[in-house]
Symmetry: D2
Subunit: 343 residues, 4 copies
Amino acid sequence: MIRAGIIGGTGYTGVELLRLLVGHPEVELVAISSRTEKGKAVSDIFPSLRGRLDLSFCDPEESALDQCDVVFAATPNGVAMTHAQSLLDSDTCFIDLSADFRIKDPEIWREWYGMDHACPELIGQAVYGLPEINREQIVGAKLVANPGCYPTAVTLGFTPLLENNLVEKSSLIADAKSGVSGAGRGAAVGTLMAETADSFKAYGVNGHRHLPEIRQTLSETAGATVGLTFVPHLVPMIRGIEATLYARLTDTTIDLTALYQERFKSEPFVDVMSSGSLPETRSVRGSNQVRISCFRPQGGDIAVIIVVEDNLVKGAAGQAVQNMNLMFGFNETTGLMNLALWP
Amino acid sequence: MIRAGIIGGTGYTGVELLRLLVGHPEVELVAISSRTEKGKAVSDIFPSLRGRLDLSFCDPEESALDQCDVVFAATPNGVAMTHAQSLLDSDTCFIDLSADFRIKDPEIWREWYGMDHACPELIGQAVYGLPEINREQIVGAKLVANPGCYPTAVTLGFTPLLENNLVEKSSLIADAKSGVSGAGRGAAVGTLMAETADSFKAYGVNGHRHLPEIRQTLSETAGATVGLTFVPHLVPMIRGIEATLYARLTDTTIDLTALYQERFKSEPFVDVMSSGSLPETRSVRGSNQVRISCFRPQGGDIAVIIVVEDNLVKGAAGQAVQNMNLMFGFNETTGLMNLALWP
Amino acid sequence: MIRAGIIGGTGYTGVELLRLLVGHPEVELVAISSRTEKGKAVSDIFPSLRGRLDLSFCDPEESALDQCDVVFAATPNGVAMTHAQSLLDSDTCFIDLSADFRIKDPEIWREWYGMDHACPELIGQAVYGLPEINREQIVGAKLVANPGCYPTAVTLGFTPLLENNLVEKSSLIADAKSGVSGAGRGAAVGTLMAETADSFKAYGVNGHRHLPEIRQTLSETAGATVGLTFVPHLVPMIRGIEATLYARLTDTTIDLTALYQERFKSEPFVDVMSSGSLPETRSVRGSNQVRISCFRPQGGDIAVIIVVEDNLVKGAAGQAVQNMNLMFGFNETTGLMNLALWP
Amino acid sequence: MIRAGIIGGTGYTGVELLRLLVGHPEVELVAISSRTEKGKAVSDIFPSLRGRLDLSFCDPEESALDQCDVVFAATPNGVAMTHAQSLLDSDTCFIDLSADFRIKDPEIWREWYGMDHACPELIGQAVYGLPEINREQIVGAKLVANPGCYPTAVTLGFTPLLENNLVEKSSLIADAKSGVSGAGRGAAVGTLMAETADSFKAYGVNGHRHLPEIRQTLSETAGATVGLTFVPHLVPMIRGIEATLYARLTDTTIDLTALYQERFKSEPFVDVMSSGSLPETRSVRGSNQVRISCFRPQGGDIAVIIVVEDNLVKGAAGQAVQNMNLMFGFNETTGLMNLALWP
């Protein structure tokens, strides 16, 4: 049994962490902070937790967090980096669900996030928490940068192609679609139900913050800078990400489905379906599963890889728990075996 | 570890039973029947189960069902009653999620369900499986009539008022609203997304099959025939039932919230909220919880009781598992502690 | 051709007014004000108007409004009352879509709206703009209080019963449901898509501002104070209100459908359906139509009246245009003949 | 005033035609056929038309259709081709909203539609009814093949690039998304609300029937066979298509937005937005408008063109009315000026 805390527990990744950690047999939740809601019972804000979690939001500066074995940051970008050193000093493992430690180059971070990094000296210690690519480093990590929701889907989808040098690296295309919970729980006209229901749109076409993150990981895998066009879209649904990936094959003899099944055969949370199957986001709603299907339409040279995940689980809180499991030597799937809600 | 089977596993209550039973530590799922899909892998129909359930649909006549400790019927009305005697003969407990054993009077059953009852002699053995009202009988039952989705919400909501003889019994009103999964998984124009999304309507105003079921239970509680107006509505959402109940108080000095909290204080799945709180169906999405709030607007003599549940969990499959837990002496909450998905 | 202006054009009733007035053959839109967006092109905020409306938001104090023949207020409560005198002084007709002039008694207004009325002396001049009840007064009015969305549906639904003294007046019940556009276009966590989609809830049970407005009109019709329990609910859809009304009949021999058809036979925007029919909100989506069905379930003494409308059209902007048509002697249906979007 | 008829009026394109034609000042609707609903009042099936259309469905063989000036086919594929010769013989103009006359090569038609063409000799007479590309031929046509919903969006989006030879023709990618009304009004499990709401998926990745149609038009424009990867997706909304198009530019100096604005400057129904703007499907909900935005992310060589339309209006019934207007010499926009519903 380890002691866990959460900084910034009032957003959607925060409440999803709560859902997963309340049901985790190895974890005792001891502190959840929120500057805006401090003093309030957590279950007053999130009634789904009534009767199951008897904590109130505390001040983020409160000492309880330092006494945790692990602390998760579910804060807006720019906050976690101000807590990292102090937590590491008190020997607390730190899993940051925000973007603060994802980008290796602090210049690129500044360019895309619009602020100076508060502790560039710690970036090098941070392990990018995508277990399917980085499992060994995560096991020994003290500071984990939990990947973004889009990057998890897009990176997993392109990895087998790039690892095997099967596609033109200069013209990858990721057409990604997300449910509205990805936009967060902040009050905003743009994500009101009356503005987003029964409609569909692209956004961030000229540059979304997940682009440099995806490009960084894919380039490492490819051993060369990849060219990536990334277009996110907003889907009138609550949860789920679907990424339809396009790449031009340099070898059209490859059996894509077999390649992917081999690559992910030991992965507990990656399910490669047969090529005729079409993964739906609802097949992973509420679960930590990723499902992938591979296509080569009309037998041409364009590979179409389709990836679905729940943006709040494998794309955020579930992956963070998976990382925690690895860091503390628990079974990797502990607390993450809930099946998707269907329908 | 008991052996469980399901008759008719291709509908929404069937797949919800699968979700709950796959995660139940005391249950081994050994057989699932479907006349239309027999031979197909269950996870081909329900990909959310891929990697977690390795069964194919069998023929309903197959002997595997008789060898189960418990069989659930998740069939259309009129099917379960043809299986009951044979299962009871082989000492298999039988939990019927359809309506076949809910109505005590076979004449009333025929009137509302349009067919003769196949085994009227068994109706008397059937225990109405609403644990909050009938727990002791369920513990010793071999044949359980699992309540309908609306009846669960409406009955729980009116019970404390009727038990204490606090309202005019002749003019109860239940304005109930259900998500579309309540209409089942059958192909029908009326429940297409293009027909039901972004719209709201009442249906069955002149008489819905759940009316006699609710009236039967409430009349038993009241010790007299109650007068009930029941109007169901279709909500453009997948899961969830909300019932807004109206009754004229004969005693306006009563503290309704205190009454309800006392009545349900030992119930693991009934949460009585403070009167200012407004229960949302999403607070129970995917969980077996019921939430209730009590109001007396403007201090008048009309009690307004609001009840929410997930129609597929507490309104169907979750309640069936709760009944199974009681029948087999497991902890009543085993396998039912999943928290609601929020958001 | 008359000159029309709008005060506060950035909310949902504002943009709906724009949609209807742009298509109205007798109206030239000359000014739309918005304090927050002044200077911006209207079609930048509402791209659905691109190419069809070449106006920018002006300051509400701008003189253009005084030179209009008619001005609509689509402002938050408390704003229109500060403009009324000046508009009337410049002989401009004023149609207020907010609540400022709906309540006859300024004390009751203060109690429910939490502020003193700015011009109690004008309240008497204001005509309540529900044409089906008040047509003659509207024709000659200079100041019209456009009814609320719920009050339009609930009032029309109860009126024939009360006019004919057919029900117990002390225990009327209105269980009403609205799409989220009724909550307005303000940024708020509570109406985010991730908070409201796939869920259903009651709200305002202890007292909603539309209660005194409905009670006032119904009591006038009944010739006595009515007792009304009004429970509004939030439906995960954009537009539409459904009201299910319950009343105890004092005369059960009456043919309700015939009564309603007779009452509304000359009304261009009220469609009384046969009792077997179930009105859906989508049948009026985007149109000024109201549809009503009448039931007496199980032949008992409870009348169930079901009313649907589009909250933004007949419940707001469409009714305002209908009032304008009456005030200026146009055909009452001019500019309001668009059919509902189906599906 | 011309006389119009519809063959197959019970699907979504049929009822959308009804909505538009009932409001069209130059058209008298005289006959609507339906084999399954014949004899029933149209407004019983589509209550949105109550009080506005007093017709019953007739038998498709009925003579009334031959006496029309124009007949629209809103039938499943394979039906319209059996009516074409007889209608042309009686000098009736025929606008086919199904796919029967879209594909020039009857072999390709057979391959994708699985049946022999009933009148290959008429295919040559059929004009592809995309006015922005084919206006002159439509003006003189007697038989119009109304384009598919996806083809309208994708073709308009790629046309300026191909007309000007600005992109690699071998690797066009169209990632398209449609609301569920595109799947039609037939009863099917796959399009139930409980199956499609709150979820997102690709479909038809290995080959969708709209692929050869799009490829045919684009190849004509390009003067060479184009290579196109087309992946359609299902969006949990009722109406709307968004197509995100990707092409590799051979000339990166071109100002895409200027090019598109010039190309479509005289088109009443194509709105090219500035590149920073992101078209949403709701901005065209219920209207015949198409909106397009052009991007070149990170200044690279990939053009991203985003197109939105209402699949039932510009993607079907609205375009058919636009074609009718051209064929009969009416103003092209007559009856098509309704603004989008927003919100």
